[in-house]
Symmetry: C3
């Protein structure tokens, strides 16, 4: 009944709690694009970043071209990020080997023979600079067949845009499910969202494609609480959509009446199995309310909410660690989580598809 | 000759020292009662405590009933101890699921269907409040056939009682053996107990039952040293018993003459394989000496002794970790350790029995 | 394509980067002598030191004899180094067992039977005090057939001698290769050695015996940079040898003209697989230049160079850990590293031989 788990810090196997399966909600979707950093963060100096557990070095050559290499010199396996950019090359700081953005070995100082051979090359990852972000494709061996996610509204000047980057000590799946989960807001973010007291019957329409899923909430009242008063100053009908796009985009859209519209796009980057970054863009307009005023309220509230979420995700990760795996129980009001999980696992196997087929429709009733 | 051990912090297997077997003196006796905390420590706020490697949350409902659940919400595996008590329920802080002291799921906010199903329940452990302690039975699946250990003398008003809780970085077995071991006192606690100089021949009678063992020391002189001067102010014949009761009670009893009597009961709680708590009750009377005076000397000396023991147990644990196991050598003057070990292993297999049979007698001569 | 590695701190297997083999350049040469500490560091108090992953306790008896035991009491596996020296014995601090420098158990306090039996003995390692160092042979089970390395020039009063001890977070092989590697000096120690600008064609003669290897550099110009100006104040022909002696000695010899001669002997001690100590002796004479003046410049520069090397070796070790192994690529200008590796692996298998045969000669051209 008691389970014993290996602990290899020297001590023999340790006790842990009963009943836990070894399964963990980690999907490693390698054949996809992820945001590495903002475009402005990438200067000439080499920038080490871990994505999907892979230590990478990002750099920008003198002519402005971004590159990403496995952050390990093929010679003596030191991090190339400890070196420096020289012209169009990144030079290792140990023996001075130089590499192009494509990974070719341009120079081995001291060697009289050929430097540029396959054996001397560094592993290079496809990189794209787009909409203010540096995107990287985490499979170095293939030519990407897809494009990075296109962020909507970004060029629409009727909207204000707030960009943030936050980090959570949780799996990509847990972090994305949390970002799109409605029932936890009354408890974890008590006071900022709906309280326990007033509850309404709501219908949720869930539409599933083979690389995205959408939940439409029908019957939601004008929201209560601080955040809500800002979101709907003048009242009106509420339209609310939560969406997930493969492999890691969580989108929440609120329309209140004709004038107020807020679209939050959170692009997840799996740093490692239990560490996720979210690059978040909030695009909004609130009738005649000036953008700076809305932003001055939205930004601190957004940070407070995310901090509460991050703390809870950290506790979850710690407990999964203690038990050596998860043992989740879902109910029908866990509206998107299980669908997201199925898409991620299909993506891991290379089976997530295109977007053009008819969606499957599910309907769930809830009282929140 | 050199042994290689897995180190999974990323680095490949590491060297360690030769000759060590993987065996460690850890017995996991699950079908037993352990002290979780004192009764006064358990208030309404949820109290997370690990026992036998199992993260548990203890709480007391509004009506005063104590409860213990596996500290992991069955929904999304966050610690329930991050929530709060509401009436007779403990509520999870993430999505608001509520549980009774028996583990039943009383509420899933938002869900229109049935909350109280077996799949939604939390794992609950039997709890008893007795003699000022909260006891927990570490097997959640069975009804306990035995009672928690009864602490003698506690209600005898002729005695003074001192309660302490101390923690040691050692296995339950090593901590209990240390508490009942005589030969180490001359070295580790030099000055407080017998010195190296004067030694006496002593006969030890060891009586073994199938769930306890007792050592009776015959020929012990009036003790020397500070502790001893307090224990036997007026001299007289010394009676000395060391006892172990399954699964984790160490008892040391001294009678000196007719008037002085001291009984130390240390109840061990295995927090994890290498972390043990001892809930200790010292009951004593010292002739006409006032209790507060004895106590004012006993308490600081007890703490000093235990601190020296804890440091040594920590060094032992660290070394067992380095070698990946133990390689103990015992002699006949390791009077109780091997017997305690056999009882613990029998208890782990569910084979430790009742107390009513005739004991087996062994006799050992020592010179201490 | 992605590799998954066990992480046993509780969390399930973690992602790591692609392509890495599990091989690491660690050779565990047990049947050899290593420097434990300087002779003056070893006083009466027990000194715990780890060598080749083995926790040892060094001590010096009252009569001055050095001893080394496995730092684990055979009784209850606490470190004997927590005890104290008493006359010719080392006494454990827990139950007072006493051991000789040969590991014999001289006393078990309280025991009426025989203490000095094989089962009660501690594991003892051969120890030699020589040329100001305490050497230990890391195989306790055999009589050493070889002598510790003899440090040349130490008794020659025409030379000044500087002793240092430095520590590197790298394998013995990586640390020794680094100490004897020429091409990295232009990059890692830029400014102190040759710069990137001026380069010369150099011929390297590599002579290999079955327990040592030597590189002779022909065509090296009078060196540039600060270190060089000190090494060759008056100019002259440069003679430069790099040498490795099994199992762990790196030697660099420079002769410039007739009057200047510098010999650096670095004796490596593998503390553990990724932690190496270097006991270094620099013996030099610089024509008419006073020793204290040379030393005042040599010492800080030597420390600066070694610090840069240690930082890079630490980055390499960290990365090998992240990838779970190495994937090195060598070229012909990695002059000594691969030969040292082969000797170390032969030594690990017990196949490194004597020094009296004819060497094998290889010639390499480089441009540094």
């Amino acid at each position: 009944m008691l389970r014993v788990m290996g602990d290899s810090n020297g001590l023999p196997p340790q006790l842990t709690a009963p009943h836990t399966k070894a399964k963990v909600s980690v999907a490693r979707c390698a054949d996809y694009w992820y945001v590495a950093c903002t475009a402005s963060e990438l200067k000439n100096a080499p920038l080490p970043l871990t994505i999907l557990g892979i230590p990478m070095v990002f750099f920008r050559t003198k002519s402005g071209v971004p590159g990403a290499l496995l952050d390990r010199c093929p010679h003596r396996n030191v991090p190339i990020s400890a070196g420096e950019v020289d012209g169009e090359a990144l030079r290792c700081g140990y023996h001075g080997w130089e590499f192009s953005t494509k990974g070719s070995c341009l120079l081995i100082p001291g060697l009289k023979g050929e430097s540029n051979t396959k054996g001397h090359a560094a592993t290079a990852y496809p990189v794209v600079e787009k909409q203010g972000y540096i995107w990287v494709y985490t499979n170095p061996d293939v030519a990407p067949k897809i494009e990075p996610f296109h962020i909507p509204l970004l060029s629409d000047t009727n909207y204000n845009h707030v960009r943030q980057m936050v980090e959570a000590p949780g799996t990509l799946h847990a972090t994305i499910e949390n970002a799109l989960d409605v029932p936890h807001t009354s408890f974890l973010h008590k006071g900022l969202f709906r309280g326990k007291g007033t509850r309404n019957d709501i219908t949720v329409e869930i539409r599933r494609w083979n690389n995205r899923v959408e939940a439409k909430y029908i019957g939601e009242p004008r929201p209560q609480g601080i955040a809500a008063k800002i979101a709907s100053p003048g009242g009106g009908e509420v339209e609310h959509y939560d969406r997930f796009f493969m492999p890691s985009v969580a989108q929440v859209e609120y329309k209140i009446g004709d004038d107020s519209h807020i679209l939050t796009t959170a692009i997840g980057t799996p740093v490692s199995d239990f560490h996720t970054k979210l690059f978040t863009i909030i695009s909004f307009r609130f009738g005649r309310m000036p953008g700076w005023m809305v932003r001055s309220v939205l930004e601190p509230i957004g940070k407070m909410i995310f901090k509460q979420d991050a703390v809870m995700l950290g506790k979850q990760t710690e407990l999964i660690g203690k038990f050596g795996g998860e043992q989740f129980t879902s109910t029908e009001i866990d509206v998107l989580g299980p669908h997201i999980w199925r898409l991620m696992k299909a993506g891991e196997r290379g089976e997530a598809g295109e977007m053009d087929e008819e969606p499957t429709l599910n309907i769930v009733e809830m009282n929140v």
